[in-house]
Subunit: 104 residues, 2 copies
């Protein structure tokens, strides 16, 4: 990740309905598309009972542009209509970070 502070995290937490038709393909297409957007930094995703996707962006304008992207808008509507019973989006300023990596 091209880390540079300050940057933003968008935390997308979701609960799914029983219909998953086409979801995996769309989720993977949205990751590819997000990675092509200006201001994109990184993307992390995991799903068990909850789905949690965190994307990282250079600034708020990049986040607004990604939200307004036409193909992403279509996916968001499909999500509301079909896949999600609930979701929450939090837009966050990353104030501090640290990491650990095992010596191999």
């Amino acid at each position: 990740m091209k880390s540079q502070r300050p940057y933003y995290a968008v935390i997308f937490t979701s609960k799914h309905t029983e219909s998953d038709d086409g979801y995996a393909e769309m989720a993977s297409r949205m990751e590819v598309l997000a990675r092509q957007q200006p201001g994109f930094l990184d993307f992390e995703s995991a799903r068990e009972r909850l789905g949690i996707t965190v994307s990282y962006w250079e600034n708020l304008e990049a986040i607004a542009n990604w939200k307004a992207n036409v193909e992403h808008q279509f996916a968001q509507q499909k999500g509301i209509d079909n896949w999600y019973s609930w979701y929450k989006v939090r837009i966050c300023l990353v104030e501090r970070e640290y990491h650990f990596s095992k010596q191999i």
Copy 2:
């Protein structure tokens, strides 16, 4: 969640080693313990290839206290010694949020 702005999110992203001995029990104990801390707001977790845990807190002091909690410190060291090959912690100010909930 007792939502109140401003509040903080701690995004903990991890990759696991092949050793998962005792991990599930410890992870579930840490969630119970986190929920008992002053300033705790919410906890979300999912794991596939990556593990993503996001905890939400009223302020930075609550986050620092939780990090310093003796039982949590022991778990953090066990994580470094055994379970994690890599992790990253990001402390974030939640600036904006919105949600969707399906009518039933």
